[in-house]
Symmetry: C2
Subunit: 519 residues, 2 copies
C-alpha cells in the first residue's frame, strides 16, 4: 500500500502515514515504540523518531486498533518525528496554521495540509493595544513589573481566542493543527516569545534573537497540538522583521531576475529593493499618516473607512466609496491619497500643500487651521464631519515625502534609477486599497507604468502560509534572511534636501512625474 | 585562550566553555543569541545550539558580565547544546549523576565532570517497596487507579530525596548536575518513565520501549538542572534490562577476546556468556534465597548481616563475621552459602541437603522441621535465635541448583564447557561478599580456578558512571544492546534432570567439583 503520495511526502511538513504493524509474538518481541518506528521508517523510507511524550499512549492504542494505526509526523532536519497517533478511523484533519503577528491586528489562516485548501481565516485586533497603541509604548510597558509577561499573554490570548472561535465555527479541534508559522516585526516577535525587547530600540539596536526557527508548543503557548512546533520567521535586525522576510518570500522578489521594489506601509514604511542576486532594505517613518490614527479622521482600512474619493473640480462636490458600504466614520490611507490628489487637481491646495482660503461651504477655519469637509456630519456614521485639516495634511505630506525620499535614496544607493525597476510590490491593506495613479499624482511613489504596481495583500500571512505549504522553502527563507543588507538611512543634508523637495505636490521637479501633469 | 582541554572536549558529555564575546556595535549588530552561538562555535570548532528556554536570560547576563561568560554545554549527535550560562566568576561545579535503579535500593553517584573524581554516593531503599515488595506485586499495583503514577512518583521522590540529602551535605546545588544516566531492569525503567509495565509479564512479553535513550528533565522529573538530559540504559527485552547492559559495559566482557561469564544475582539470577563477538543471556529464578527475604533469617547484605561463617567440625562451634561489626540480626546470601558448605563439611547436613537428627544444642526441632542455630538469641541484635531451618535450606538448595543448571545450560547451548570460561564476573553486593570457594563447595558455581572469579560490585551503577565519563561509549552501549541474544530457558526434561542432579551437595556427580572433595 502506498500510504502517502510521493509529491506530498516531498514537500509536506506534516503527513499522516497509515501503518499496519506486525503484531508482536514470541519470535518477534520488539518493543511497541520500536515496532511502530520500524514500520513507519519502512513505509517512509526515512528515519523516524518517536519522542518520549508519546510513549505512554502507544501500547494501548496499538492493541485497541489491532496494530493498524495512522501516525501524524512532522519533518525536520531529515527526520520524521511522531506528532500523534490515531486509530485508523479516528484521524482528525491535518491542518497548518499561518499567523500574521501585526502590531495592530492578528490574523490566522488555517490550511488543510493534504489538499492545500484554505479552511478558514480570521482577523482580530491585537489585544496588546490596550497596553500601548504603538510599539514604543509597548516596549516601555514591557519594562515595568510583569509588563513583558502581560504583553506576551495578551498576544497569546489574542491568537488563542481567534483560533478557538474560528475552530468552533468550523467544528474542528485546534489540536488538529500540527504545525504553525508566524511572521511579525522584530519587536512583536520578541513579545510572542516573551523576550525583553528593550535593546531593540537602544543603540546599537540588538535583538535578543534573530533566528528563532522552530519553537515547541510549550514555549509559544498556542492552543494547537501539544506536540506541534511553530516556525518563527527570522529577523534581519531590529528594524527588519520576519513579516518582511515572509513578504519577500510571498512576492517571489528574491527569485526575480529583474530588480523589484517591495514596499510595506505600516507604522513605518519598509522598503526592499533587489532581485535574485541581492536584497537591500531600509525603513523610515513614512507610515503613520497613511495607516490612520494620526490624521484626526484617519483610520485603518476597514468597515466604515472612506477608501476612494473623487472631487468635482468646479463644484468641489465629493463622491466617495466606503469599505463595507455603510455611512463613513473616517478615512483610510488610500482615501487620503485620493483626497489630496483631487484637492490639488481642484486647486483647493497649492503646490506647497496649503489649503487655500476660499469661500466655499466645504472649506472651514478651525483650531487646526483650514479644513476641507469630505462628508458633512449629516452623512457620517457618528454625526460629525469627516474632514481633513491643514495639520492632517502637513503630516500626510511629510509621510509621502519620506516615502519618496526613501525610495529615491535606495535606488541611488545601488546606482539605479526608477526606470530600472521591473515590479513594484505594495504589501498590506494599504497596497490592496491604494490607487497607484493617485499616489503618483501626489508624488508619493515614482511615476512608473501602472502595470508595474502589484498589490500583495497581507504578504506576511501569505509568506507564512506559503512556507507551511512546502518545507523545501526553508532554504529560501534562510537565504533571504542571509541576503538582506539593511541600509541605515543617513539623515544628512542630501537626504533633507531630497525630503524638502518631495514635500511639494507632486515635487519641486514636476518633470519627475510627467503623468501627474496630464491628469 | 584554550578554553577547554582537547582531551576533555573529546570525551565529555558536558563541558564548560569560557567565551569572551565582542560587544555589539553599530557595525556588528548580531543578535545576542547568535552572537553567543557564534563565539561558542568558534571556540569549540563545532556546531552549537542554543535552545529557546535559555534565550530570555542571555541579554541581561551578557551585559552584566561585560560579555565574558562561561557556557555549560551538553553534546549530542555532534552538536553542543547550551545547558546554562554563568558569569565567568559564578560557575557552579560541573557534575554528572549515575543512578542504579534497583528493585530494592536506589543508588546515586555524583562525579565531577572536569576531574573525574567521585564527589559523593548514597543508597536509599526504593520507596516503591511500600507498594509491593517484589516486582510482580508492583506491576499489579500499577494496574490500579493512579497506581502507575504513584509508583513513578515514589521512585522519583526516592531519587530526589537521596540527591537533596547528599547535595545538602556536600554543600552543592542539584542544579550543578547537567547530565545523568540511569540503569535498571526493564520494569523499573518503565516505572521511572511512567510507562505501563503490564505487557512485560504477559506473553509475548512486550515492553513499551527498549531504547529510551536520552529523555529531558521534565519527563524524568529529577530535581537536577532543568535543561539536563537523562540517559536511560536500553533493555534487550522484558527480561534483560539496562542494569545488565550497564553491567556488561563496566565489566568489559563485550571487549574480551576470551569467553566470560557475568552473573548478577538479584530477584532473578541473570547470566551473560560471551566475548567481543557474541553475547548470550538468560535469567532464572535462582536468586530469592540468596538475596535474603526468603530464608526466615535471611536479609540483604548490610549492617547486621552475617556475611561469613565457619564451623568447627568437631564441636560445631560457630565463628562468624557481621557486616558493620555489631550484633547480628540475620544472615545474607554469602553467609548462607558459607553456612551450608560448613554444615555439609561438618556432616550436619547430608548430600541431599537434609539436616541430620543429632543430639546437639544447636540442632532444634521446630515447626519448620529441624533447624541449626547459628547464633543463639543471647548473642543477637533482637534477642531471637538466628538459625537456618530445613525449609530455608530447601529453598537455598533450589536456588543454587537453578544457578548451576542455568550456567550449565548456557555453556552447553554454545557448545562450550566451563573450562573454556576465562573470567567469571559476579555482580552486585552478592558478588562483593560471596566467597567463591564456598559457593563451589556447595555446587552453586563451577569449579574453576578461584582467580577467574571477579567481584564487580554494583556494576549497574558503575556502568552508568562509566558511560557518563566518556561519551564515546555510546556506541558500545548500543552495540551491546544489539549483540545480546536472549535465550529463553526451556524448562524441559533435560533441564529438570540437570536441576535435580544439582540439588545435591555439591552434585550427584562429585567429579564436577574436585576441589570440593579436597576441602
Amino acid at each position: 500500500m502506498q500510504a502517502i503520495s510521493d509529491a506530498l511526502n516531498e514537500k509536506a511538513w506534516v503527513i499522516d502515514c497509515a501503518a499496519a504493524l506486525e503484531p508482536p509474538s514470541l519470535s518477534d518481541n520488539t518493543a511497541d515504540v520500536e515496532r511502530l518506528g520500524r514500520e513507519l521508517s519502512r513505509v517512509l523510507q526515512e528515519p523516524v523518531e518517536i519522542p518520549c511524550s508519546s510513549w505512554g499512549r502507544i501500547p494501548g492504542l496499538l492493541r485497541r486498533s489491532n496494530f493498524r494505526v495512522s501516525a501524524r509526523l512532522f519533518r525536520r532536519k531529515g527526520v520524521w518525528r511522531l506528532l500523534d497517533l490515531y486509530s485508523d478511523d479516528s484521524k482528525p484533519p491535518n491542518l497548518s496554521l499561518a499567523m500574521d503577528l501585526g502590531t495592530t491586528t492578528l490574523v490566522c489562516r488555517l490550511t488543510d495540509c493534504d489538499t492545500g485548501e484554505v479552511v478558514g481565516e480570521c482577523t482580530v485586533p491585537n489585544p496588546q493595544a490596550e497596553a500601548g497603541a504603538d510599539i514604543l509604548s509597548r516596549i516601555q510597558s514591557a519594562g515595568g513589573p510583569g509588563g513583558l509577561e502581560s504583553l506576551q499573554r495578551r498576544v497569546r490570548d489574542g491568537f488563542n481566542g481567534a483560533l478557538d472561535t474560528m475552530c468552533g465555527e468550523l467544528g474542528i479541534s485546534p489540536s488538529s493543527i500540527g504545525v504553525a508559522a508566524v511572521a511579525g516585526n522584530t519587536t512583536m516577535t520578541h513579545f510572542l516569545l516573551g523576550l525583553d525587547p528593550s535593546n531593540i530600540r537602544k543603540e546599537p539596536y540588538i535583538p535578543v534573537v534573530n533566528r528563532p526557527g522552530w519553537v515547541p508548543a510549550p514555549v509559544h503557548g498556542l492552543g494547537i497540538h501539544p506536540n506541534a512546533e511553530l516556525f518563527v520567521f527570522p529577523n534581519v535586525g531590529s528594524y527588519f522583521g520576519g513579516d518582511l522576510i515572509a513578504g519577500i518570500l510571498s512576492s517571489g522578489l528574491h527569485k526575480s531576475p529583474d530588480v523589484c521594489f517591495l514596499v510595506d506601509v505600516g507604522t513605518n514604511a519598509e522598503v526592499v529593493l533587489g532581485n535574485s542576486e541581492w536584497l537591500l532594505a531600509c525603513a523610515g517613518a513614512a507610515g503613520p499618516a497613511l495607516e490612520g490614527g494620526v490624521a484626526k479622521m484617519g483610520m485603518l482600512a476597514g468597515e466604515g473607512a472612506i477608501d476612494h474619493v473623487r472631487i468635482d473640480r468646479e463644484t468641489l462636490e465629493t463622491r466617495f466609496s466606503v469599505i463595507g458600504g455603510e455611512l463613513p466614520s473616517g478615512i483610510c490611507g488610500s482615501g487620503l491619497i485620493d483626497l489630496v490628489a483631487e484637492l490639488f487637481a481642484s486647486d483647493v491646495i497649492d503646490q506647497r500643500g496649503k489649503i487655500r482660503g476660499m469661500d466655499h461651504e466645504r472649506i472651514l477655519e478651525t483650531d487646526e487651521g483650514r479644513a476641507f469637509v469630505i462628508v458633512p456630519g449629516a452623512g457620517t456614521a457618528h454625526g460629525r464631519d469627516v474632514s481633513l485639516s491643514q495639520v492632517d495634511l502637513d503630516i500626510l505630506l511629510r509621510s509621502k515625502a519620506a516615502m519618496y525620499t526613501i525610495l529615491t535614496t535606495i535606488v541611488e544607493e545601488v546606482g539605479l534609477g526608477f526606470g530600472d525597476v521591473d515590479k513594484f510590490f505594495v504589501a498590506g491593506t494599504f497596497g490592496t486599497y491604494i490607487d497607484p495613479s493617485m499616489a503618483i499624482r501626489i508624488g508619493m511613489i515614482p511615476d512608473l507604468p501602472l502595470e508595474r504596481y502589484t498589490p500583495l495583500g497581507n504578504s506576511s500571512l501569505a509568506g507564512a502560509a506559503l512556507f507551511l505549504s512546502d518545507r523545501r522553502l526553508m532554504g529560501e527563507v534562510e537565504s533571504i534572511a542571509e541576503k538582506v543588507t539593511y541600509l541605515e538611512l543617513n539623515v544628512n543634508a542630501h537626504f533633507m534636501g531630497l525630503f524638502s523637495a518631495a514635500k511639494f505636490i507632486p515635487h519641486t521637479d514636476p518633470s519627475l512625474f510627467p503623468s501627474a501633469a496630464r491628469s
